[in-house]
Amino acid sequence: MKGEAILEAKNIKKYFLMGKEGIFSKKARMIKAVDGINFSLYKGQTFGLVGESGCGKSTIGRCILRLYRITDGEMLFQGKNIDIFDGKEKMQYHRDVQAVFQDPYGSLNPRMRVGEFIEEPMLVHGILNSRGRRERVKKLLEVVGLNADQARRFPHEFSGGQRQRICIARALSLNPKLLILDEPVSALDVSIRAQILNLLMDLQEEFGLTYLFISHDLSVVEHISDLVAVMYLAKIVEMAPCERIFKNPLHPYTQALLSAIPVPDPELAQEAIILEGDITDPITLEKGCPFRNRCFNASEECTEKEPKLIEVEPNHLVACLKIR
């Protein structure tokens, strides 16, 4: 099942400094958005990254895209450390790794015709000549299910779902190897989500793309992913192939998460595991397991030791002291 790993994340950490205490700052507050993450993305596969707000999943996406510089760790793309790219390697990386973001209204420049918008990456990299690019834009529009003659229109003439298609067309324009999809359907109408998800899956098959699919919506993630990792407060708490995690979740947080999702089937009356409290303020973390104050299994040792992500079954990793 596993092909080659095109991206390897090794012990990635991203900390943000939040403001200073004063002119004579004693200690600027540090937010640990990502705190020691390890995973690999395999060619042609979809890696689903799930978690709730503040868990750090979007931050990882941005680190991979080089929008943020990682604080620590190594991010290797096809074996090379992306942090130390020179100019040429940087441009090549942009050709290899693209993204589609959540908000279809903020993702398109309202003053640019959509044809120009899709063409831009090619223009910047000096690919093809003007006519060649225009031809390719037409083809890309068709590939994503839009009309080729809509290239001259402006974004406001399109609906949310159509805008996402335009974003996908742009992302494909440079023939990337890896696509970072950050909540690509969360802002769309429910009836449109299925269209876009089907499109993404078709494109993956046709072009041999690798996806990092970031979302909080577990049912969507289950549908599209091969491997899934669950994040909580800057760490991965469980990671396994898709069917494993959904059929047999081991980490208490994953169990709670799965049980809390309302399934559109009134006959499956599930009793949700209700987690008390809110997600902890990431700044006040000290030692021990970050989930301990909400965990229904927590005990004394959970406040002392921090669990490491270990393989408890073949290919199934969990970070919990109670699970060995």
Binding site: R62, K90, F101, S107, V124, R170
Partner: protein, 289 residues
Amino acid sequence: MPRSSRIWVHMKNAPLGGLTILFLLVMAALFAEFIAPHSPIDQDITQALKVPFFLKGGTLSHLLGTDELGRDILSRIIFGARISLVVGFIAVAISGFIGTCLGLISGYFGGKIDSIIMRVVDVQLSMPYILIALALIGALGPSLRNIIIVIGITSWVDYGRVIRGEVLSVKENEFVDLAKIAGCSTYRILLKHIFPSVVNSLIVLGTLMLGRIIIFEAALSFLGLGVQPPTPSWGIMLADGRQYLTYAWWLATFPGLAIMLVVLGTNLVGDWLRDMLDPRQRAVVRGKR
């Protein structure tokens, strides 16, 4: 909703009064030589202090009366429009250019550059602009060219702050991130992504600033720091007419009215442009999900 009909809707609400005033202003400035009944600088003491035509004793040859040197008020106002417009447009262009560049840099890069530029803005705003103008004119000497420079340099701060604010919100949009990951250079991002989104504010601010700058010019000329006589400027006319206010009120009142009408016109047009160019005014109901 096709774009053309959207524009048509806004055309229906166009402020005809404001547009007419601005149209007249531009016409007066361009064709003064052909429109004005007399030369603005010809003196004729025998015709001094003639009343406007609608008062007893007025004649049609001097519709708005004459000043103390017998110069026709109407003609001087028409030629004065040229001064106001020239100063207005060029000064708006200068301050707009400086303000936009600094606002873009300040807003986009943030950090130290932003702090420095904003400190300069704060310092400049804390000094009364008249004093700055006085000092600069004192150093450079009063002339048309110099007040354009002075006004341009002091007025950029309004642009700077507004543009910076716009840039701060525009750069949060995902399309800016998408431009970065496509490999766009910073220059390209500023030019093709950030700047077009702030152009609207620029235009609106421009029309509003036009009015203020015309007043600024009038004030400086009033103080004798601007254009020098005999060139007719509305400001100078105000200054000269001040002493005659009690018995020859038309010397100062008509130029004052001219200033007021032009500022009113620019404000009305500026408001209308802002509504028209604001994408949120598109009035398509997008239901809440």
